[in-house]
């Protein structure tokens, strides 16, 4: 049964592990759902935000570029109704007026088809590289009206500001003949670039503008990210996607700018938001571990509380199995377990009561048996005694007859003792003396006897009829052919009372002593009924301490000693029980 219990899991383990498993599953599930959901949502939100920012910037730029185109159209419309040669003054005035309304238009130049300056409000601008560039673009894109050439630094104006260069094909009349050329405009683009720069793209976020040839038109900052972000922007044409830019997580968004053939690229720093799920995961992990520890503690406690009374009960039952019926168990805990313990206690009490009764019944039975034994009078002793009385009477030995009959009467009176089991030592000695008196008359001087008794003992109580069987043995078995000597001794020890019967004679061998001893202590009946009877009665009434010892000195004597514990009630003056 114990082997089985070891191979199986205990209640405690079962409760502990199942509650732990339950909590781990619940925690893992909720943590996973939370992280996945949160990560997904935050990623989606941050990408949406990046797109919205990009759209806003594109919108700002398109508004601005729209106004640039409108200005170009307005000038074309105005110039077509004038003659560029004859109405020079009017056109210059138009330029001045226009600059007053649109203050960011800083430079206006008209080139003819060969690139020569016809009209200019900026004396610094000469035909040459600028006109060649503008004409080149116009030739390459015959279908476009406006060419956004790109930003540059205007060194001619004192502000030294960034300008956006726009060229436009221009139809005009020169000396009444229709002709064509290029209208070259420079816009101060600081307003729009400042606006873009102030847009929150996050730490190290920036924006680029590329043209259709992937030439860099504009970049908001020039730092260590620029080269890499340019490379990424040049590879893609439209759309948004996350990238890893050096040590940062960025979200790139590319959109077209209307009418320009340009692409505006925003690069938002989403590192912080990308990190957030990681931090959340870390927090969730910590919470997970703490909850797990708390759960383990709680589960351990609960399972301990449940299993402890059960284990106590099991230990107690094991002791009961081993035969200890003498304690009850007190178990505190769940009411089922307490009820179980109570029932068990009740059962044990019943068993214990039954066993005690059984033992008592057994002892009573033994006592009854032994009392019967003790009351047995050897009939041969009576016949022999009566025979010897007859023989004495025939020989007219009246005095001996009287002595014998008186001794016999006393012998029987003491034997019966009105049913008392324990009698004063004095009375027991008297009984022994009566027996010896009768036997001495019968066996006619075959033995002498003497008593050596501690006078202290006389008033102690002792179990009756314990000395006569020893004397009988000494007379029948101990004495040899020569007249012998029988000595009855009695003395007190610390807590014991001793009697011994010694007889002179051949003595007996050690082997014989062992044989007698074994018969005496053995269970089976047989020879030596007298000694065995005494031994059993002593053990029954005085317990294990009572004993009988046999010793012998060859060719000298044999001694049988009774060792009797002194019981309080046997001391003089105590009440007689029984």
């Amino acid at each position: 049964m114990r082997a089985i219990s070891k191979s199986r899991t205990s209640i405690r383990q079962k409760i502990f592990f199942s509650s732990l498993l339950l909590i781990i599953t619940a925690l893992l599930l909720s943590a996973t759902i939370y992280i996945v959901f949160f990560a997904g949502t935050s990623r989606r939100l941050v990408q949406q935000l990046a797109r919205e920012i990009n759209k806003q910037i594109v919108f700002n730029y398109e508004q601005y570029l729209g106004s640039v185109v409108e200005t170009g159209n307005f000038l074309q419309d105005a110039i077509i109704s004038l003659d560029i040669a004859e109405d020079r003054e009017q056109i210059i005035e138009l330029f001045v007026r226009n600059s007053e309304i649109k203050r960011d238009l800083v430079t206006k130049v008209i080139f003819d088809a060969s690139g020569e300056v016809i009209l200019s409000d900026s004396p610094g601008i000469q035909s040459g590289e600028l006109s060649r560039r503008a004409l080149g673009r116009a030739a390459a894109n015959p279908e476009l009206n406006h060419f956004f050439i790109g930003p540059s630094i205007n060194r001619r104006v004192s502000r030294n500001s960034e300008v956006l260069i726009v060229a436009r094909s221009l139809d005009f009349f020169r000396e009444d003949a229709a002709d064509g050329g290029i209208l070259y405009l420079e816009f101060d683009s600081s307003a729009i670039t400042t606006l873009s720069r102030n847009t929150n793209l996050g730490d190290a976020g920036h924006l680029l503008i590329l043209d259709d040839g992937n030439n860099l038109m504009y970049q908001s900052v020039n730092d260590r990210y620029s080269a890499e972000s340019y490379r990424i922007a040049a590879e893609r044409f439209i759309g948004g996607f996350p990238v890893r830019l050096l040590d940062q997580n960025m979200y790139v968004n590319i959109n077209t700018l209307a009418n320009t053939r340009w692409r505006l690229v925003t690069i938002n720093n989403i590192d912080e938001v990308t990190q957030t799920p990681l931090q959340i995961s870390a927090v969730v992990l910590v919470v997970f571990i703490i909850s797990l520890l708390l759960t383990a503690l709680a589960a351990g406690l609960v399972s301990f509380r449940i299993s402890r009374p059960i284990n106590l009960l099991i230990n107690y039952m094991e002791r009961v199995e081993e035969g200890e019926f003498f304690e009850t168990i007190s178990v505190e805990g769940q009411k089922e377990i307490v009820a179980l313990a109570d029932s068990f206690n009740h059962m044990i009490t019943r068993i214990r009561g039954l066993m005690t009764r059984l033992v008592e019944q057994q002892r009573d039975k033994r006592k009854t048996e032994l009392r019967a034994l003790q009351n047995q009078i050897n009939p041969h002793f009576l016949y022999n005694t009566l025979d010897s009385i007859v023989w004495l009477a025939e020989h007219k030995r009246e005095q001996d007859v009287i002595t014998t009959v008186v001794a016999l009467a006393k012998f029987f009176r003491i034997s019966i003792s009105r049913g008392a089991n324990f009698i004063p030592v004095e009375t027991e000695l008297e009984h022994a003396l009566n027996y010896l008196t009768i036997q001495q008359i019968r066996y006619v001087e075959r033995f002498s006897h003497r008593f050596e008794i501690d006078p202290e003992m006389m008033r102690y109580r002792v179990m009756k009829l314990i000395l006569q069987p020893l004397l009988e043995n000494a007379i029948h078995h101990g004495l040899g052919d020569e007249p012998g000597d029988i000595v009855l001794r009695g003395w007190l020890g610390e807590s014991m009372m001793y009697f011994s019967v010694s007889n002179s004679g051949y003595g007996i061998t050690e082997a014989k002593i062992r044989e007698i001893d074994e018969k005496m202590r053995g269970k089976e009946d047989g020879h030596g009924v007298g000694l065995r009877n005494v031994f059993q009665r002593l053990r029954l009434y005085y317990g294990e301490e009572a004993d009988i010892r046999i010793s012998s000195i060859p060719d000298e004597e044999t001694t049988v000693t009774l060792e009797i514990p002194l019981r309080p009630e046997d001391r003089p003056g105590s009440e007689v029980d029984e």
Binding site: V69, N141, E143, L144, H146, F237, I238, N255, A258
Partner: protein
Amino acid sequence: MKWISCAAALAVFLLMSCTEASLEVAVFSYNNQDPFIARHVEQIISIAPENFEIELFDASNSQIIQNEQIESLLSSPPDLVIINPVDRTAAYTIINSFKATGTPVIFFNREPLPQDLDLWDQVYYIGARATQSAELQAELISPLFGENPDDLNEYDLNGDDVIQAIILKGEPGHQDAEIRTRVVQEHFAELGYRLEVLSVESANWNGDEAYQKIDALLPVYGERMEVILSNNDVMAIGAIRRLRQAGYFQDLNDDGMIDRANEPWFPVVGIDGIDAAAESINAGYLYGSVRNDSATMSRAIVELMEVILGTRDGDQFGFTLDNRYVWIDYLPYTR
């Protein structure tokens, strides 16, 4: 018995799905608020064979929205895309994006720049030549002044054998406005007629603006002008509204119609052939218009789509493919 019918149903389903290996096509409209484009797109979808699964994207006149719509397809692109771009100058981004996914592109209605169309050999354009609308406009109106350009009839009001004209221009800088304004003048010359442009007024494609512009011009040119050439129908109808108030059109018998033989009228021509223009032409107000033939164009788009995707033989293509361009003629439209 039940499992047999199930198996039969399954077999039929599998067979159908095998034969109907549908082709996915995405159609992008620049703005479905524009009735012309809305009808155009509707035609494309309605005449496409049934095994084409066509999805429509409306950019609501925003290239940003169209960019997002295109981007949404790039991860699992359809078999072909048909695009009416919002900003035709940005077409190179669209072409490069679909070149990367290997998806053929047919542009329509708004023509990408020629250098962009050359970026990849799987890009096509179907549309009308912008110049042709202006040419047809000139061809439509010039016979009114007589067959002989050197000796004009009574519609040359001042008898100088030169046609005095006012041009209503669309949005300045708009490709069509610039081309139509330029080409109509050029084509009159090509036809041999002398044209004097009294004024070119921009009304931004808008009827009310055209009304205002004519209102301002009447005191100056009211006596001299002999014809109004409008870049589109909407402006032409706006101009007619003002001319009716000024008595240039008079419905003398109140029958809701202008009878050109008996009642005063003035020649105004437009371009586009919208419904309102058709009504006006039928009522005798608008002299004529030039119609963008969206039905034919839709047919060309669908046939080209089938040829590209291999469901139609090349020789079954009813149009001329000119270096990945298919040109559809404008149609003159008069009473």
